[in-house]
C-alpha cells in the first residue's frame, strides 16, 4: 500500500493528465489521485491546484464545486502547489474577464501583459509562450534546480504581489513578473512544471517531499 497520497484537484479546467502523469513519474511511494471530492482532498498529504483557461470560468467552477472551501482548509494544514491559473486563483483579484475576485490567499493582483509590450524596441507577443528563465529566491522547493533555469510558460496574465516577502521566483517578459510565490505551506508557480522537462520534474519531486516548512 502507498504510504502517502497526493490529490490533484479536478475542477474541470486543468490539463490534469499532464500534471498527474508528471507527478506519477517522480513519485516513489505517493499515490496520485485526480479528484474533486473534498473528503479525499482533505485526507491527502499533498494537494495540487492546477488550472488552464479563463479566470472567470475557473473561479465559477471552483465555487460551484466547493473547491474554495477545500482550499481554505488545505492552506492551513498541508503542502499545496498551485500551477499557472491555479497560482493566479490564489491571489486577491484578477483583471481577466472584466475583473474576477479570486481566493485571496496572497495579497496582490493578476494583470494583463498588454498589447503594447516591448523589449529593446522589439514588440513582444502575448501570450508569453515558451521557455523563460526563473531567478530563484531561496526556498526548499528549488532544491537541486539551478538558479535561472528555464521553465515552460504559457499565459497572458501575470501576478503582481503586494508582499515582496512572498515572492520566491522572478521572471521577466517586457516587465518583471512573479514566477513563484509562497507563504508557509503554500507554493505556487506561474509556469508549468509538468511541461518543463528535467527542472520541472525536479520541482514536482521536491513538492512531494516537502513538509510545508521553509
Amino acid at each position: 500500500m502507498s504510504s502517502k497520497q497526493c490529490a490533484v484537484i479536478d475542477y474541470g479546467m486543468g490539463n490534469l493528465h499532464s500534471a498527474s502523469k508528471a507527478l506519477e513519474h517522480v513519485s516513489n511511494n505517493t499515490e496520485i489521485i485526480v479528484t474533486s471530492d473534498p473528503e479525499t482532498i482533505l485526507k491527502s498529504d499533498h494537494v495540487v491546484l492546477p488550472g488552464v483557461g479563463a479566470m472567470r470560468d475557473c473561479m465559477a467552477e471552483i465555487k460551484r464545486l466547493g473547491v474554495d472551501q477545500v482550499v481554505a482548509e488545505v492552506v492551513k494544514t498541508k503542502p499545496l502547489l498551485g500551477i499557472c491559473v491555479g497560482m493566479q486563483a490564489l491571489m486577491n483579484h484578477s483583471e481577466e474577464n472584466q475583473g474576477v475576485d479570486c481566493l485571496g490567499h496572497f495579497p496582490g493582483e493578476v494583470k494583463f501583459f498588454g498589447r503594447d509590450l516591448e523589449e529593446n524596441g522589439e514588440k513582444l507577443k502575448v501570450p508569453h509562450m515558451g521557455w523563460n528563465q526563473v531567478q530563484q529566491i531561496a526556498h526548499p522547493m528549488w532544491h537541486n534546480i539551478e538558479d535561472n533555469s528555464r521553465f515552460y510558460f504559457v499565459h497572458s496574465f501575470y501576478v503582481e504581489a503586494e508582499n515582496q516577502e512572498h515572492v520566491k521566483g522572478r521572471g521577466h517578459y517586457g516587465k518583471d513578473f512573479v514566477a513563484a510565490i509562497a507563504k508557509d505551506n503554500v507554493f505556487a508557480v506561474q509556469f508549468h512544471p509538468e511541461k518543463s522537462h528535467t527542472s520541472g520534474l525536479q520541482l514536482l519531486q521536491n513538492f512531494l517531499q516537502w513538509d510545508g516548512q521553509n
Partner: protein
Amino acid sequence: MSLAKRIIPCLDVDGGRVVKGVQFVDIRDAGDPVEVAKRYNEQGADEITFLDITASHEGRETTIHMVEAIAEQVFIPLTVGGGIRKLEDIRNMLNAGADKVSINSAAITNPDFVREAAEKFGSQCIVIAIDAKKVSSEGEANKWEIFTHGGRKPTGIDAIEWAVKMTQLGAGEVLLTSMDKDGVKTGFDIELTRAISEAVDVPVIASGGVGNLQHLADGVTEGKADAVLAASIFHFGEHTVQEAKRHMQQQGIEVRL
C-alpha cells in the same frame, strides 16, 4: 533574461508510425513515434508537434493511444494536428495528454469553430495551422493565399488577413507552412513568415523548407518567427536538436540549452 526561441521537431504520423514525405508524396518510414519523441525530448526539443495524416477512424484511435503513450514519458508540450474538426476531437486529444491542438481545414469550413474552441478550452491550446502559397507574380506586391488538400486546392483567402482574423477569433498561436517551400529544403519563405509575424499579436511557428541549420536561424532573425519547426533534418540523423540550438546560439539567438 529573456524568452528562448523554440525548436519544434514535427512528426507526421500515419497509422501509428512516423512518416515523412516530400511535398506529401514519396513517403518514408521514420520510426516509432514514442521512440522518436523520446529521442527529441532528450536532445532538448522545446515542444513536439504531431500531424496526424491518417484518414480512417481506426487510425485516429491509434493516434489517441499514441499521444497517451508519449505523454506518459515526455514532459514537454505536445501539439497534435490533423483531422481536428469538432470540439470533441479537441477534448479527446487534450484528455490523451496533448497540450495544444492545431486546426486547419475545419477553420476554413467554419471560422467560428476557432472561436468556440478558444472559448471552451482557452486560446493557449488552440493553434491555427495555415498552409499558404505565393500567388503574386514576379514584380508584383507579395500576396499569399490559403491552400487546402496538401497545397492543391486554392481557397481565395488572403493568408495575412486570415491569420489576423483567426487570432482575433481566439487562436493563441500560428503554425505557418509555406506550401511552396515544404519539403524542398531551400529554407523558409522568409517574406511570408515576417509578414504574418508582424501582422499578428500571438507567437508564430515557421514551417516548411528547412534543409540546414542556418535555415532555422534565418527563420528567427529574418522571418521574425517565435519558433521554428522542422522534420526531415532531425528524422534521418542529419542533425540533432542540440546542434541546431548551438548553431542558433552562435548567432546571438536566445535558446534553451
